[in-house]
Assembly symmetry: C2
Amino acid sequence: MTGPAPRAARRVLGIDPGSQITGWGLLAGTAVEPRLIEAGLLRLGAGDFPQRLALLQERLAELVARLRPTVAAVESPFHGASARSALQLAHARGVILAVLAGAGVEVAEYTPATVKKAVTGSGRAGKRQVAAMVGRLLHGAPPGDSHDLSDALALALCHLASAGHRSAVARARER
Amino acid sequence: MTGPAPRAARRVLGIDPGSQITGWGLLAGTAVEPRLIEAGLLRLGAGDFPQRLALLQERLAELVARLRPTVAAVESPFHGASARSALQLAHARGVILAVLAGAGVEVAEYTPATVKKAVTGSGRAGKRQVAAMVGRLLHGAPPGDSHDLSDALALALCHLASAGHRSAVARARER
């Protein structure tokens, strides 16, 4: 009989979907002591929309195979944005969810407000505030000057903050 | 020097995206003499949303590798539907476009009204009318009693109807 994986082995991949650029960041550790392993941007090039989605699928599959996250944190789809941009984002999100589930990576979804609140204390924080707090929480590890990147790290931090609760729920479900 | 592929070699895969069931149908021939090669449904099972999208990705990739279509016809995203169902559909559509572009299959998009008009003569035809005309156009080849399947075949027929014009445009672009 094996118990749940030890906490230290938990690797959380935050992903900020976009059809031009998708930001990602891999954290380990806990909410109190998060550790930045690696972060970056998937630039999806200048092809047409299906070609960019194909590149996203290919690059993310490579990334997941290399990083071997235990769980991925992705923003839940938002209904408030303009219909066109929300639909474009949903296409990219669909590719991301398919790649993650296909690789056996658990997917956790958080609303933008939940992420902002977890990282800054306020559900209405701006992107700069989020980026500044992400840098501070990762003990000065530079999140780069891209919001795609700091938003991805914020998602991973948000998951770490609720991971204790969630993993207990998951273990209960598996029984 | 090689010219464009002969017309008879053109294989059009129509796809009707869904996050539960995705219909598909492969046609060859021309708008005047369409020929049904094969059609079917991808049933995406009872898993959660990411798992169904992963299954869609896997099954469609297998299908495309086996059928080797030259072009795929997919419905363009519609903005009129409820935000929730449009977003779900966009996720499935994203997976489909990524798989097609990743396999080098050209993607052609048509609005629902264009498809209905091409097949029945009216942009406001109902699903039954479309299904009946698809059966008639394919010379009695039974499209099954699923609208997911007849809608996929209608998309392929719509593409054949405009393929002469489109392939001329594509050849002009390649020069």
